[in-house]
Every structure is written in C-alpha cells, then in structure tokens.
C-alpha cells in the first residue's frame, strides 16, 4: 500500500517485535542499572544540521544519553520516550532513531515512557506535528553519543585508540583483531563516562541506517494493545481508589448555585457528592467546576449523577445560538475586516477586473471525540501529588498541577499513559486537574471519568468559520486579485480576554500563507466572539482555510472551463520560495524558522503532480464517479490528495479510492506515515460528512455518537494509497500527524461536484446532495 515517490517503492514489511514496554512506566523510568552519572547535557542545538523552533519551546531539547538511555549487564537497552503516544507512533519512532544511531539491535531494546519533566527531558508538548520535527536531530545526537561512549569503553579495555573500534549490531568490534564486546559487557564502563563533547560525536551515514526509513519496526505497544494489557488513562487502579464523575455547567460561564444530592445518595454504591471548584472563564485549562459524585465504581457514579438536582447561575453565553451566530459571521464577512496581508492593490484590481467571482464557505464548530474520553487518576497526599493521565503535554500538566495545588516542582509527578486518541483535546489537562482537586479534597486516590456526553458537551471545540473569497479576473481570465476574509472565534479566547479576531497563529494556517502567484492579495479577518471553550483540532485552522481556498480553486476552474489540477498549478505558479512576511502582520511559521522551512512552491507542485499521476488524474470514470484534488502546506509538510467518489441515484456517496502524496522532508518511519494518512482520510471524511456541534441557548445540542456521528467501516474509503516523497537528510523533517486532514474535505467536495455538479460550500454535507 505504500509507495515512495521519485525513487520507487519502499519496503514496508510487517514483522513483529514483541519488545513491549508493558507497564514499565509503573516502575518509574530507568530506575536502575542505568547509564546515570555526571549528566552533562549537550549544548542545546549542538550539531544541528538545520535550525528548528525547538529551542523556543519551553525547556527546548535535551540529547544527553545519560537522560535517555540505559543498558543493563545483559545488554538490554532501555530508551526513554519523552513525547506522548496518541497513535502517531512517536513512542516507537524517536527511540528507534536513538537505537539505530547507536547501532543497537532493536529486538534487544525496550522503550519506557517518561513522566512529565521538561527540565530533564526537554519539551514534551506532543502537538503540532513537532515530535520528529524537533527531536529527530537531538535523538540522533543522543544515539551517536551513546555509541561513542560504548566505543570509548571498549577501546580503553583493549588499550587501543577509539578510532580502531566500531559499534555494530549491539556490540563493539575491534577491526584489526576482530575482538568484540557486547553492549552489556561495556554498559558499566560506558555509563561511568561523561557525555562526549559535541565535536567528538559523529552521526552515521544515513545510508547505513538499519531501521530509519525502512518501516520495518512495529509500534512498541502492539502486543499490549492486541491483548488488552496496554495501559490507557482509565486503566490505573490504586488501592482505596474512589471513582468519580462530574456534572459540569451546561452553559459556559455558569456555576453551581445550589444542589440537592439526596436522591443521588440513596443509590446503592454512591458514597459522596461534593462540589468541584471551577474557574472564571477564560481560564486556560482550569476545570469548569460542577458537582462530583463518588461511588464504588464508575457505573454507579454515573447513575448517581443522573439523580442529581443542580441549579446553575446565569451566564452571558446563554445567548449563544450557533445558527444565528453563523448568520452574524456571514454578515461580518461581507464587510471589510482587519487587513493581515496586503500585496499590491486589491481595490484597484477589483475595480479593473473584467469579472469577479465570489464564494462563501462555512465550516461549523466540532468536537474531537477521541475514542478514549478524558480521564485521569490522581493521588494527592502528604504535600505531594501523583497523577496518571493520557495527556499530550505532560510538562504543561505538571506545571498546571503545581500552580493549581500550590505544590513545588519536585512534589508533583505526572505519569503518562497511552492516549486513546487525542487530536488536540488532550493538550488541555482540565481532567487531570479535576482528579487532583478531588483527590486533595477526599484525601484518597481518585479516578475522574468523563462520559461521552461530557466529552462532546464540554470540549475545547474547534471554532466555526465563515470564509469569503473573491477573485478578480482580467479580460483574459487571468486571476489578478484575491481577497480572502476569514471570520472565526479565536482559540486565544481560552488563554486571555477574547481577542475576537483570528490571531497570527491561526490565520497563518492556510490564509496569509497562500502560496499563489497573484499580484494583488488581501487577507482580512473579521470580528467573532467565542461563546464556548475553544481549542484546536487536527490540522487546526488549515481545516476551514484549506476547505475554502481549495474548493474555490476548483470553482474558478469550473467557471473558466479549466481542468482543476491545471488551474491549481497555474495559481501556484513557478517553483520558487514564497515569502509573505513583508506583506503580512506577523506570519507564524508553525514556530519554526522560515529559513529552514520556507514556503516552497516546487515541493507544493511536486506533491500535486505526484498525486495526480498516481490517481490517474483525467482518466475516464464510470458514471456517477468524480475526482477532486486539493493541496496544502500544512504544519510545514506538503500534502496533496485526490479523492474519487461514487454517487448513486439516491445521492448516497461512497469513496472507492483516495490517493495522498506527502513531502515531509527526511522521514523515519514510513509505515506510521502511511497509517497516519490512512487515518487522516477517515477523519477528513468525518469532518466533511458529519461533524457539527450546534448550540441553542448556550447548550450543545449533540451528546454521543448517535447525534455526533463519525465515519464507520462501511462508509470508509475502500482504498487509501499513500505516496511519500523520498528525501535525504538535507531536507528538514516536518511532521505527519496534523497535515493530511486538511486537504481531504476540499478534495472530497470537489469530487462530489465533478460527479454531480452540486457544489458543497457548507460543512457538514449531511443530506445536501441526497436525492
């Protein structure tokens, strides 16, 4: 199913290594027999082939093998995974980089999950497709340093110069004599050495990698996952643990006025009902507050909660009606907004245009709905707090726990379980804070379980958007002007008084970073207040922005009688670096240097041409079928998708085939890239067809998978093929978790138009094309 562009197919075999880190985290990370002495961290950013934004993240990067690697006397190498595992595979991929660089045999490696401790491990905020992007270099350095330490230990034992020995497949060999020592034999001596200076460390020739780039290493938790023994957020059970669920305010901003627990307390197994502290909004990730029911098990806590009677205070957000809000956003989009990018003279271009084409798009608010609803276990006692939780940002969670509980850094421990999906939801640690606060109050270990209803009704939602695009055409149908207005509440409303406009971090994801060769471009943002907790969902603002721009390109093509792919390539223009920084208010380049990750239209064209070729763009299709294409530079990767749809005589849509091409720079684990992109097609299809959380009187109207449907196996694409552009170490790595969701919905809707001549400008599609 995997094909690598340019240089032919890659082998993605499926061998199984059952070297599972089964619950190793329960024992603490790298507890004994480790390489720990005199840790002298490498200078941050040492030896980087390319500069990333990692140093600007809290606590930057760490690459010291004394922190990440331990070897026992039997030669078992334990490698720390410090980023959270939510399904992208980074818990396998980053340790695999260390192992490959240190010439370890993967079958003799174990992976343990780090607790939240950014002072020790560097940044752990697993978000924004940053794990490989920011840590492939530090992890290579880490592995190379460990290899050198093993070689130095062997050289010393042999009384030879270190240049005469070489680490190969878990042992160090003396070239001349053929004598060798296993890693286990050298572990103690190597561990006693200080970390080598950066200028001593030599990275391997990428051609000699054994695992990197091959896709031959299965995820480390594969056996545990398939046997039910892998540990997720709700799977930790402590002696004397209490089970809690919380009834939270139905409208953002309201609080508990009074409650009557008498009926709940009569239910067998319900032990206690107590109020949980809530914070005034905006409050970053602090809990909403509410009333908690504590019971002998989660099921009885839920039953007890159903019997609660709570009166809530009034909230100004009770006015929120998402249908009305949409109309307001639409009206705003028809008036000038704040200019955030201004190239040339759009007003003159519009005035001189032979023709102006306009379209308005809408993407609603929606919820993340990871299969594992938020959940956390906490035990706060004797001036300490320990938490077990599926959090994307263990370091951030650690800090928020310290602040919330008033505890010093070293009295808090965040144990990171596997995340049962996250997609941005578990970047926000409110559920872990709730568990800690309840544990503190009850003086007992507590697990707080969110139900699916809690999850869908109290999410940090992906904000809705209205996007209005106008194109000015001259007499020869050349696009001479492009005006894009983007009206959406800002996710910054979660962190500060509502700015009411999209901010640079948001409008730089698909609006102002427009890579088109058009002389006159103006991007504007319009006012929109937030009335619910706002967060970010996979691909983030690229979801609505890509939907609008890539659908609009297909609309232009249709209006002008052009092929959509050719139109797209024409707008992208010649291969070049597009630098909108001079004409943009604070272009955000995903937190990374523009010089390392410029907007490269050559690479953008490359994925368009690759995917078109693989999809057989332009081939004859059966009746009722259509193909659509879309491309986006998303989280610094270039990703293009062609969707083929089939629409039957009742308007039912199926997806026989999806082709996606991605250029994500130097890559580590193509097998996981493929799985991420297969999944992104499903998630993109859900966004396109189904996802919407609507509000009346400030209350979400959806609650579970009956009214918030997601794509199931019977409506999934029949085949998704993934094509990865082969790059050398000279092309900086970007990520794959976020990017591929963005182009799916526009490619899909463009395909529907090709099949039916019906244009979808408003998501979700629902029954818009049912006949």
């Amino acid at each position: 199913m995997t094909h690598i562009g340019k240089n032919g197919p890659a082998s993605v075999s499926a061998s199984v290594v059952e070297n599972v880190s089964r619950r190793a985290w329960l024992k603490g990370v790298v507890a004994s027999g480790s390489l720990i002495v005199a840790a002298s961290a490498l200078p941050r950013g040492a030896m980087a082939a390319w500069k990333t934004g990692a140093d600007a993240m809290p606590h930057g990067t760490v690459s010291d093998p004394h922190v990440f690697v331990a070897i026992d006397k039997d030669g078992i190498v334990t490698i720390v995974a410090h980023r959270s595992e939510m399904g992208t595979g980074s818990k396998t991929s980053l340790p695999m980089v260390v192992a490959d660089e240190m010439s370890a045999d993967w079958s003799r490696c174990r992976v343990v999950q780090a607790p939240g401790d950014e002072v020790k491990y560097g940044n752990q905020d697993t978000d924004g497709s940053r794990s490989l992007r920011h840590f492939v270099q530090p992890m290579r350095q880490c592995g190379a340093a460990a290899r050198l330490m093993l070689e130095m230990a062997a050289a010393k034992r042999l009384g030879v110069d270190v240049s005469e020995v070489e680490a190969i497949n878990h042992e160090v060999v003396h070239r001349h004599s053929g004598r060798s020592f296993g890693f286990g034999e050298l572990a103690a001596d190597a561990a006693a050495l200080p970390t080598p200076a950066p200028d001593q460390i030599r990275l391997k020739d990428p051609n000699s990698f054994r695992y990197i780039g091959t896709g031959s290493v299965p995820i480390v938790d594969l056996f545990g996952i398939t046997t039910g023994t892998a540990t997720y957020g709700a799977d930790v059970r402590l002696p004397g643990m209490k089970y809690a669920v919380i009834l939270r305010p139905p409208v953002l901003g309201s609080k508990v006025k009074s409650f009557d627990a008498s009926a709940a307390l009569k239910i067998h197994g319900v032990e206690k009902v107590i109020e949980v502290k809530g914070w005034d909004w905006p409050a970053k990730f602090q809990p909403l507050g509410g009333v908690a029911v504590i019971a002998r098990n989660t099921g009885m806590a839920i039953k007890g909660r159903d019997a609660l009677k709570v009166t809530w205070t009034e909230s100004p957000h009770a006015i929120y009606d998402s249908d009305k809000f949409r109309e307001e956003m639409l009206a705003t989009s028809r008036k000038p907004g704040k200019t955030v990018r201004n190239d040339g003279d759009i007003d003159a271009a519009m005035k001189s245009a032979a023709r102006v084409i306009t379209a308005e798009y809408y993407v609603p608010q929606f919820a993340h709905a990871p299969m594992e609803p938020p959940v956390a276990t906490a035990w706060v006692h004797d001036g300490m707090a320990e938490v077990w939780a599926p959090v994307q940002s263990p370091g951030g969670t650690h800090d928020d726990l310290c602040k919330t509980l008033g505890l010093p850094y070293d009295k808090v421990k965040v144990n990171v379980t596997l995340l049962g999906g996250a997609f941005g939801r578990k970047s926000k640690c409110d559920f872990a804070l709730e568990a800690a606060l309840l544990s503190q109050t009850l003086n007992a270990p507590v697990r707080v379980q969110w139900t699916r209803e809690d999850d869908i009704q109290h999410d940090f939602y992906h904000a809705p958007a209205v996007e209005r695009i106008e194109a000015a055409l001259d007499g020869s149908n050349k696009v001479i002007g492009w005006r894009h207005r983007n009206v959406a509440p800002s996710l910054f409303s979660t962190f500060m008084p509502d700015p009411k406009y999209q901010q640079p971090l948001e409008y730089s994801m698909g609006q102002v970073d427009l890579p088109f060769e058009i002389a006159n471009i103006r991007c504007e943002v319009g006012e929109a207040a937030a009335h619910s907790r706002t967060g970010w969902f996979r691909s983030v603002r690229n979801v609505p922005n890509t939907f609008a721009t890539q659908c609009f390109v297909a609309e232009l093509a249709h209006e002008l009688g052009r092929d959509p792919k050719e139109m797209l390539l024409e707008l992208i223009g010649a291969p070049r670096i597009v630098d909108p920084r001079k004409t943009t208010v604070d272009l955000w380049n995903y937190g990374d240097p523009f010089e390392t990750y410029p907007i490269d239209t050559g690479r953008l064209r490359g994925v368009v041409e690759l995917v078109a070729e693989k999809a057989g763009w332009g081939r004859n299709l059966p009746a009722g079928h259509g193909m659509g294409i879309a491309v986006q530079r998303c989280f610094l990767s270039y990703v293009a998708t062609v969707v083929e749809v089939a629409v039957d005589d009742k308007g039912r849509i199926s997806v026989p085939r999806v082709e996606t091409a991605i250029d994500c720079g130097f890559f580590v684990n193509p097998e996981r890239i493929v799985s991420q992109i297969e999944g992104a097609a499903i998630m993109g299809l859900t966004v396109a067809k189904h996802s919407a959380v609507t509000f009346k009187n400030g209350v979400p109207q959806q609650s579970n998978f009956n009214d918030y449907p997601v794509v199931r196996i019977d409506e999934a694409p029949r085949v998704t093929n993934v094509h990865i552009v082969q790059n050398g170490w000279d092309v900086p790595s970007s990520g794959v978790g976020e990017p591929a969701t963005a182009p799916f919905a526009p490619a899909f809707c463009n395909a529907i138009f090709a099949a039916t001549q019906k244009r979808i400008r408003s998501l979700p599609i629902g029954d818009q094309i049912s006949l």
Partner: protein, 150 residues
C-alpha cells in the same frame, strides 16, 4: 449475589444489579482491557463475548449477566495468540489502539460464525465498532488475514 464466569473464573457481585457489565469488569473485577467509549452501545469499544456472542458490555446489566460465561480480551487466548490477534499484529492495525480490544472481540465472533466473510459481511459485522484514528482499511485486511490464516 450475582455469580458469573469471566475468562474461566467465577466472580461474585453484591451491588446494584442494574450496573452495566462493563463497569463490573473494569472497576470491580480488575480487567481494564475492555474499554469505555460511549456507554450507549454506539461505539463497540466495550465489546466482550457473553455465552459466545459479541455484545456491548455497557448495555448488559449485571442481572442479565448472572450465570453467564463472559470472555474479555484478556481471556480470548491464554497467550494473546488468537488468530485475530495475530492478524492484527501482522497487519499493524492499531494507531492509538484504544478501540482495538472491542474490534478484535467483534472480529473473533464474526469469524467463529462466518469463517470466510465477504467484504459486505465484514462491513456489516464491524460497523458497530468505531475507530476514530481511522484504521478501517487495516481492520478489514486483518479480518481477511485472520480468515485465511496467519
């Protein structure tokens, strides 16, 4: 007192008989392999076998499980080597993995009844099990792999 067999062992439960089996398994019997995803039999994450049939354990009350034989993911095979589990590993199905216990239990029940399912039979049988990561292509491939032998 309710008595039931779980993975070959007898268990007793003295609480509210309306408790969903799911919470007994997870919180009382200490078998967390069965996952909570929706509580309304909409997602299939909590799928177990009761008297050999795949059911959603969030929708089975303890009173209805009395005297029955329950098998969870932990008990599907003593070594975790049921053909479906092997197939899941051979095809590298999981991403986050949270739904996979339910998927595997559902697939195992399907193949017991229909050893060589058609694509449509696979879709029909597996449509109650949501995977938000979107592993469906591999789930389908793994069911086929398990059917033909690994």
């Amino acid at each position: 007192m309710i008595t039931l067999s779980v993975n070959g062992q007898e268990h007793k439960y003295d609480g509210d008989p309306s408790l969903p089996l799911l919470w007994f398994l997870r919180d009382e019997a200490g078998l967390p392999g069965t996952k909570f995803g929706c509580g309304e039999a909409l997602c299939g994450a909590c799928t177990v076998h009761v008297n050999g049939e795949a059911v959603r354990s969030c929708a089975v009350q303890m009173s209805d499980a009395a005297g029955k034989t329950v098998v969870t993911i932990e008990g599907l095979d003593p070594h975790g080597n049921h053909p479906v589990q092997r197939a899941w590993r051979a095809v590298n199905v999981p991403q986050c993995g949270f739904c996979q216990a339910g998927q595997i239990m559902q697939a195992a029940a399907l193949l017991k009844q229909t050893p060589n399912p058609t694509d449509e039979q696979i879709h029909t049988a597996m449509a109650g099990n949501i995977c938000r990561c979107g592993c469906y292509q591999r789930i389908e491939a793994a069911v086929r792999t398990a059917a033909t032998g690994v």
